[in-house]
Symmetry: C2
Subunit: 847 residues, 2 copies
């Protein structure tokens, strides 16, 4: 290999050295910075990626050159230095250069026990990682003869004595690390962390600082913020004489602690220097760092420094504090917090430090943790809520009738289902902790028991803790961490709002949802589903009367009784969202969802309606559908049974007038579901216009409203141009659109989705991550045709995908006006949108 300035085989880290992260890796770069800050770092050499690659390919490392720096009898460590810390890399090898001669010197200077321990550790790691001997043979086998045994084993297995040349040792260690990086496992691991498979590796060779010797000697780590809270607090550990002794011996606390001696007290001046080093790092590296240090006879050395590991809440606190102190910009602060990490801040969490009685793991379907007594039916959940007893609803799987029980529960646990099962979707909407697909638990709804894999049987009323963030079910009550919607959180999101350039609304059906949406500062409601409003007992009866009405007039009478209830629903939403837009989707589900499915339910219904059972059965039967998803629902009901939409429109307009009079002026948005032809929109629009006129006259009030179409059939996307002529806004319902584009029902996909994703048939579950290639193209077609027909048409996404960062990036690039998502995903969406605005400030519109 030809050598010239920029392609040196290695570079010593001196303040003037040119070290680049993409060539030498993050660790080399970080150490170089510490050196520039004049911090006491042991002599260090960086091997750039091309050198490491050449070594992996068989080239002999330039150990002579290295020996010229460290001296012929060097004792060094070798650490990996990939471009990003999270990409991993082969583990550190300490004490390279250790041999009989050094061992003998160390016995003299530090005693046999310390010398043996250092040598033994190196022999072990060399035997396993370099000579590829069986790790079982080189287990840490304590005892005075351990070193001799290891050396003898090495000789027996390799037919040669343990190599004594430091140069040879180093060459072999470098080669083994370079090759390990090219192995399949390492590739897969780093790809999982987002690295390219062919990502290169740098290596760092550093003179060993032994941390042993007379006086205060040892090694440790120190950090200056709490990893869980992000608040200032010094934590870490210090092990005296540590390199050669067991960790438990001579351990000091870092700061004063009633439980024992501390470094702070043992050498206040040295401790102060460490703290000063920390402050210098923080300011110049512009990050909270965890510092690895050694002390040799009272003299500290900084061996390494890494970003402090941190929880979501700590990440927010650290980023905001650094920005408020002027160390980083607000934009940097925003970029330092991973949007999805915000989720854990919004919910109670099981405190990882407490005791946990783990029962089973399922799919973490909706984040947060809650403790409550287990119940097995929706009505038991309601009864429990009425007694103010927190309960957890446990079901095999949930159905629409369970929604009221979910409202009453503090968490939901189901034996079956996936990320997009009914329970999961509703729970995420409600911000309710939820675990689904917990197949390890056998739920027996008849006996009202749950059997754990260890055979324990739990009964109704027993206490569980459900941790929907990580999918664990615990017996009993676990210790909890509170949600962290603190100043830091609010400050960060306000900064996000200042930079982002796509709107974020919330999907919200109930006043509770709406309050959550406001709490998380959504810019309005992007989807208020109205059908959930009809599952309350009293309304359900009226709905059923409406469904069984023999004439349009009977139907109108039943609907007139539903009207004040709907109006109250909307008034509540409008008052909570005062001043913000509220988009109400007209009635969508097939009518049979409101009818009983079993004989007993039909008997009760027959009684309630005072009709013969045979008639009730026959009519329930007649409404049943082969493919309800593709049946008589949405605007098809609106066109064929127009009285329902008439009632809803009236309720919306009357509520808007009422709310306006009470000081909550609102421009209601009315959205038509399941449109497949422009004429459907025209027909519904004509009727709603008439209702609006009537309400204006009757209430002597002026108001405006906006009509929109939920684009959720492929045809609506294709015909968006025509449709936009009749609509102020188009909102893509990506759930249904995904179902129809794939020909795949969300409810039935669970049977094979995991197989499909595992085999790479689908790159991702398209109900979880927006399918950019198929569904996404329909979004682009729909948006561009809609805009071409009507320049000012508002375009948005209101499906489950709305809150995903990937979807936000897509919608923003396509020039959408806003996305709408579950209230609990609003913070994530606000931050993700800010990230994209910072990282790609001038979106090239694709529409």
């Amino acid at each position: 290999m030809q050598k010239h300035a920029d392609f040196a085989e290695f570079t010593e880290l001196v303040p003037t050295a040119a070290i680049r992260t993409e060539r030498h890796g993050w660790r080399a770069k970080c150490l170089q910075r510490l050196i520039r800050l004049d911090l006491p770092v042991p002599q260090t050499v960086a091997l750039p990626t091309e050198t490491v690659r050449a070594i992996a390919a068989g080239q002999m490392p330039d150990t002579a050159g290295i020996a010229a720096i460290f001296g012929p009898d060097f004792l060094v460590s070798v650490r990996s230095s990939p471009e990003k810390p999270e990409w991993g890399g082969p583990g550190t090898v300490l004490n390279v250069g250790m041999n009989d001669a050094v061992h003998a010197q160390l016995i003299e200077s530090h005693g046999k026990e310390a010398a043996d321990a250092l040598y033994l550790r190196f022999v072990q790691i060399y035997a396993v990682n370099v000579a590829r001997l069986d790790p079982d043979m080189f287990h840490d086998d304590p005892g005075p003869k351990a070193l001799e045994t290891a050396l003898a084993l090495y000789r027996a297995e390799t037919d040669e004595p343990f190599p004594q040349s430091p140069a040879r040792q180093l060459a072999e260690v470098l080669r083994s690390m370079a090759r390990a990086w090219e192995g399949t496992t390492a590739r897969l691991l780093r790809q999982a962390k987002g690295a390219p498979a062919e990502a290169p590796l740098g290596l760092v060779i550093q003179r060993m600082a032994l941390g042993i010797g007379p006086g205060l000697s040892g090694s440790g780590e120190i950090q200056f913020v709490d990893s869980v809270t992000g608040l200032p607090r010094i934590t870490g550990r210090f092990r005296g004489q540590s390199q050669g002794r067991k960790a438990s011996e001579e351990t000091l606390y870092l700061v004063h602690d009633p439980r024992g001696a501390s470094l702070e007290e043992a050498d206040p001046a040295l401790f102060a220097r460490l703290v000063e080093y920390g402050a210098r790092c923080r300011e110049h590296l512009r990050e909270e760092m965890q510092i690895e240090f050694t002390i040799e006879s009272g003299a500290p050395m900084l061996i390494d420094a890494v970003r402090v590991r941190r929880s979501g809440r700590a990440a927010v606190r650290i980023a905001v504090t650094l920005a408020e102190e002027g160390i980083i910009s607000r934009e940097d602060a925003l970029l330092r917090v991973e949007p999805r990490a915000l989720t854990e801040l919004l919910h109670y969490q099981v405190d990882p430090r407490g005791a946990q009685d783990l029962l089973a793991r399922g799919i973490a379907a909706s984040p947060g943790a809650a403790t409550g007594r287990i119940v097995f039916t929706a009505s038991d959940a309601q009864a429990s809520a009425a007694r103010d007893e927190p309960c957890i609803l446990v079901r095999r799987e949930t159905v629409p009738e369970d929604v009221r029980g979910m409202h009453a529960a503090v968490a939901v646990l189901t034996e079956r289902g996936g990320m997009t099962s009914h329970a999961a979707v509703i729970a995420r909407g409600l911000g309710l902790p939820c675990i689904v697909g917990c197949a390890d638990l056998a739920v027996n709804p008849r006996d009202r028991t749950v059997t754990a894999p260890d055979g324990r049987i739990f009964r109704e009323g027993d206490v569980f803790t459900v941790d929907g963030t990580n999918g664990t079910v615990l017996a009993g009550a676990a210790e909890m961490l509170e949600p962290a919607l603190d100043d830091g959180f609010r400050t960060l999101l306000r900064w996000a709002d200042n930079v982002r350039d796509i709107g974020i609304r919330a999907n919200a059906d109930t006043p509770d949802d709406a309050r959550t949406a406001r709490m998380f500062e959504a810019e309005g409601i992007g989807l208020a589903r109205t059908e959930h409003m009809f599952f309350d007992d009293d309304r359900l009866t009226l709905m059923r009367e409406m469904i069984f009405a023999d004439t349009p007039n009977d139907r109108r009478i039943a609907l007139e009784r539903l009207l004040p209830m709907q109006r109250a629903d909307f008034t509540a939403l409008f008052e909570i969202m005062a001043g913000l837009p509220v988009c109400i989707r007209l009635f969508d589900p097939p009518l049979h969802e409101f009818l009983p499915h079993d004989r007993e339910g039909m008997r009760e219904l027959a009684e309630a309606l005072d009709r013969p059972l045979s008639e009730v059965t026959r009519r329930c039967e007649a409404l049943r559908e082969f493919n309800p998803m593709l049946g008589m629902r949405g605007v098809r009901l609106g066109v064929t049974v127009p009285e329902i939409y008439d009632m809803q429109a009236r309720a919306i307009f009357e509520a808007a007038v009422e709310a306006g009079r009470r000081g909550a002026p609102i421009v209601p948005e009315v959205m038509i579901p399941l449109v497949s032809a422009a004429r459907e929109v025209e027909i519904v629009k004509t009727r709603i216009d008439a209702v609006a006129s009537a309400v204006r006259t009757e209430m002597k009030a002026e108001f405006t409203w906006r009509l929109g179409v939920m684009v959720e059939t492929p045809r609506a996307a294709l015909r968006a141009g025509e449709i936009a002529h009749h609509a102020h806004f188009l909102s893509f319902g990506t759930n249904d659109l995904t179902q129809m584009t794939y020909g795949l029902s969300r409810d039935d996909a669970g049977r094979f989705m995991s197989t499909y994703v595992k085999q790479g048939v689908y790159a991702e579950d398209p109900f979880h991550i927006l399918d950019v290639e198929g569904v996404g193209e329909l979004l682009l077609i729909g948006a561009s045709r809609g805009r071409a027909a009507r320049r000012d048409v508002t375009i948005s996404v209101c499906g489950e995908h709305g809150g995903n960062p990937e979807s936000i990036a897509f919608c923003r690039a396509a020039g959408f006006d806003y996305v709408s998502c579950s209230p609990f995903r609003v913070p994530v969406a606000r931050l993700a949108a800010a990230h994209f605005a910072i990282l790609a400030p001038k979106p090239k519109k694709r529409s």
Copy 2:
């Protein structure tokens, strides 16, 4: 209005007159031709469309000019002359110019009775059509005083005497006819016949030929071919002294008839002249004409001539004969037969001339007529077939289990369902007469009775005739016409094949289907569904064993027993189709379709499988789906339970080798259903390739095969480029594609489709007529992307739409290679394709 040569207010029809159909209408043009042929046509004047329009707008007709031609005391008829005969127009008004003076003359020359009758008829028609008096008052009230009464009534109602001026009468008649043409009813009627709403009208004024007088006088029509068969035969009628007497009097047969006197015998020379006139018309008008004539004292006059009305079979015979005689070209012959008219030739028909006991009307779902005893279950149908007794399967609606019963029946009748219900689709596929949605009949499957609207109750074994061509259910056996797959039919379709430029294949699942496909000269099988093959009793049991298999190995064992049956199925298809391509779609439906749905069925299944009922119930339950259409079917089964496709592929390849050895060489085409991602195709292809290699080795035979994808999800259309990399052909399954594009299940659409089409929400039922705007765009996208990725990829449509002329036009314009349709639609498709090739000979490829 300015007058010059081309814009004369009227033109007398003399041989040199310039008469154009688009200006003067078809009737003027036709009469002008007769005049040029030197045929005796009474003096005639044509009013062009602009004159008629001006009259409708209020301009006075130039009656003076007309009187200058016909003389001041003219007696004329006025007939409408739109551009095409089928566009209708106001009815003919005879005897314009009739008044007291003419009446008096006629009394002298022809007697009072004849004179009164002529005058009365004119007064009646004038009062109703021109003066707009109540028709009830002017009912045909026979009696010697009828004329006086009518004239008195006229005066009483209008306060003026009946107008005596021929000029005024003519002016009023022309104005009333011109205005009637502009009326809403007339517009709607002609639009229904395909005319533009603003189509103009011409009028024809002709001197009356009275058909009364001494000697042989009268009027009649004559035609020279049979309207039902198209074969040469003189038919028509002649009424002596007809204009003034009742039709029944003095009626002559045209040709010798044992039942009475004939015109032929009454005046052979005159009759021969008529026949000669007919031959002249036929040759020069290049069409079989029906001629209206009068005879006054032995002198014949031709009043009018129209195209002979004809059945489908007559149309074919006439067109072929005219072409064979060199009167018209073969292309003209093709264009003269409406493709859909061929349908009736393929089936038995109820003879319209026989007696009929009409019970009810339903939706004519599959053409043809059949007579048989009614049965109510599939097994009764099979039993009946075993006894060789033709039976009609009567069901509320059919389910897949009924298919074997449909195979055994001669016709199917269901109370429910629409054009795209299960019964309708399967029956069309089988070419079985079928009526669905016959809601007037109450079918009681338990009692095995059918109750007719008139209260009659029919029981199992009673005889019905089902006419699936027009949707009528008749009690008892009706007289039948046989199918007409005669020389004419074959000749016409061979001519069609010579000009058409898009391939036509048939969808065929069974040997019977395949034989029909061959009989109708399909160019191969475009879709052989394999799942129907598993509904036979013995196979169903094996299928169920396969579904209930606990391990892949058990599954393979069950499949191995199915293998020889499948192989036999395919061998039969290949041998019948020898030399032509056969495209086999791999297994498509969800597995639960093969499981029983009721408790009794499950009990039997538990017994058959020797498993506990609870297990059978549980597993049937577990396989049930919310939206089967969007569930675990098609390639999703192929990927997750690959043993099924392995078995099918093996059966196909082994059959291909076997058939080849028996002299029926074939390149099997294997089609994967319900694809939504290219990777699905890759995975299945890899496995099938392996099966092909294994079969080649085991059978020591070489063969090639083609892999294709059924494009029936919107996503597959969008991703057709990627998919085409792995596929030799793409075939659009427009049924499913329509379902998914609209988000509309064919099985559930019946509830509102008629409302939707009536209200114009959808222009047409998209399951019936291809939705060009939505689904069609996906076809174009898929085809162009597929071609761009692989130039030689074969593109086709194999959904129900394939046989529709509209779809054929679309596919041809888009450059598709072929369409595939039910065997019984193949002739229609062949002819329709020929039409498009003639009418638009150089398709501009849209792909």
